[in-house]
Symmetry: C2
Subunit: 259 residues, 2 copies
C-alpha cells in the first residue's frame, strides 16, 4: 500500500490565489489510474487555494476573534474546491475516489492530530476505493482551530496503515546539499539516513542539507515513519512518469529516507 | 437548538437530473442567516443530484457488482456539488457553515446508522459554526454500501443532540387527510398525535392520513423523536418566510407531530 502526498505547489500555481494547475492534475490522475495495483491513499496540499486564506485569517494561530469563524469556513471551502477537481479527474479515469475531508473526522491539539477515527478510511480501502484527503482547516481542542498540513496527515496515515512506502511528490527532484535554485553546485542526495535526517530536522538548518521551502517540515514529519521502517521517497511530481513509477515500486530520481 | 432538514424537492428540480433551484437555495440561505440566534444543524436531501445516480447504480440494494464502486464515487460527488452551492450561499451571507459529509464519518448496517461519531459536530456547534450535512452514499457493514437518507440522519441528530425541535422543510404545506394534488377535499392536519403517527407509519397507509411521496418515511423517522418529547414540524419550505419563522419558534402553517 502507498500513501502519496501531492504538494500544493505541484497541483496549483502558488503565485496566483485559487489557481489550479489543471494540466498537472489531469496528468497525475492519469498516472495514478494507470499504475493501479497496490491500494493507495492520496493526500494533497492546499497550495494557492489553502495558504493565502489560512494566512489572511491567521488560522494557524488559533482562535483570536469572531471573524475567523467565517474565515475558517471560507478556507475549508477553497480546499474542497481544489479537492473537487482532483476527485473529478480521478473518477473520469475510472478511479473510485473516496473523499475524506479531514475537518469532518479529525481534531487536533495544538496543531497535532489528536482524534483520528480511521474506521471509514480502512473500510473504504478494503473495498477497493481510493481515499483522498487534504491539508485542511480543523477544530483544535487547545486553540479553537488550526491548520492540519498534508505532510503531517500523510505521515500519520503511513504509520497507522503500516504502508509499503510514503511518497512526497514535490516540485524539485528531492533533497539537495544546498538550495538548487540559488546554488549551481547544489547536489541531489539520493539517500538520507535516519540520523542525517534527524540531525537536519533537529537543528532546523544544516550545512550539508538544504532545508528551505517545505523540506524541513517534510523531514520532520517523515522521522517517525522512517523510524518505523517505512521508506519515505521525496521526488519531483512535476516531471511526467515519476509518480507512475514510484507507485509501482520502480526506481525514480529523488531522495529516499530510510532507517 | 434546531435541526432543519431541507428536502431535495425543495432545493432542486426533481424532474431534471442535476438541476438546482438556485433561487430557492439563495432565499433559504437568507432566511437562515436572518433567523440566527439558536444554534442550527442543517441537513439537506439529494433531489435530482442524488436520486437518479443512486438509482442508476442500484446503491440502495448494496454491493452487487464492481462497477458500483465508481457509481458510489459519482453519486457522492454529485451530492458534494449540491452541498457546495448551499455552503457558498450560506458563507456569502456571513453564516460560518461547516460541511460534514456523512460518508466520511458514518457507517450503516443494512441502511441504518451504526457508527456515528458526533464529536466534531458537537465541537463545531459549540464554537458557533453551522454544521451542514446531507443524504449521502455511505459504507455499510452488511451490504457493502448504502444510501443514508437525510430524513434518517436529521431524526438521529435531533435525538443525539436533544434539540428543541426537528423541522422538515418540504414542498407541500404538511400532512393531509388525502393527496392534495389529486383530491380537492384534502384537508391539512395541523397536528398529529404520537399514536396517530404510529398507526399511519405501521400500517404504511391510512384512511385518514395521506402517506404518499416521502411523507411515510418522514413519519417513520419522526416517531422516536416525537417519543423523546421533541416536536417535529413538517412545513412548506417553498413558501417564503416559513423557514425563517419556524427557526425562530414562531407559528407557521404546517403539521406538528408531538407526544
Amino acid at each position: 500500500m502507498n500513501v502519496l502526498k501531492l504538494g500544493g505547489s505541484v497541483i496549483t500555481n502558488k503565485e496566483k490565489p485559487k489557481t489550479a494547475d489543471r494540466a498537472t492534475i489531469e496528468r497525475l490522475a492519469e498516472e495514478i489510474a494507470l499504475s493501479r495495483g497496490e491500494p493507495l491513499v492520496l493526500v494533497h496540499g492546499g497550495g494557492s487555494f489553502g495558504h493565502p486564506l489560512a494566512e489572511k485569517f491567521k488560522l494557524t494561530e488559533g482562535f483570536k476573534e469572531a471573524s475567523q469563524f467565517l474565515g475558517f469556513s471560507e478556507t475549508h471551502r477553497a480546499m474542497v474546491e481544489l479537492n473537487d477537481m482532483i476527485i473529478d479527474a480521478l473518477i473520469s479515469r475510472g478511479v473510485a475516489a473516496f473523499p475524506l475531508p479531514p475537518s469532518s473526522f479529525i481534531i487536533t491539539a495544538n496543531g497535532r492530530i489528536k482524534t483520528l477515527d480511521i474506521q471509514v478510511l480502512k473500510k473504504a480501502l478494503k473495498k477497493g476505493f481510493t481515499p483522498v484527503l487534504h491539508g485542511d482547516t480543523v477544530l483544535d481542542s487547545h486553540k479553537g482551530f488550526s491548520i492540519l498540513s498534508g505532510d503531517q496527515l500523510s505521515a500519520r496515515l503511513a504509520l497507522e496503515l503500516k504502508t509499503t512506502r510514503l511518497i512526497f511528490g514535490v516540485d524539485v527532484d528531492g533533497i539537495y546539499t544546498s538550495n538548487p535554485k540559488l546554488n549551481p553546485d547544489a547536489r541531489l542526495l539520493e539517500s538520507l539516513s535516519l540520523s542525517e535526517a534527524r540531525n537536519s530536522a533537529e537543528i532546523g538548518r544544516s550545512t550539508a542539507i538544504d532545508v528551505t521551502g517545505g523540506m524541513l517540515g517534510k523531514i520532520y514529519e517523515a522521522l517517525p515513519v522512517v523510524e518505523a521502517g517505512i521508506p519515505v521517497l521525496i521526488l519531483n511530481a512535476k516531471k511526467p512518469h515519476n509518480i507512475f513509477k514510484a507507485l509501482r515500486g520502480e526506481s525514480v530520481v529523488g531522495t529516499i529516507l530510510r532507517r
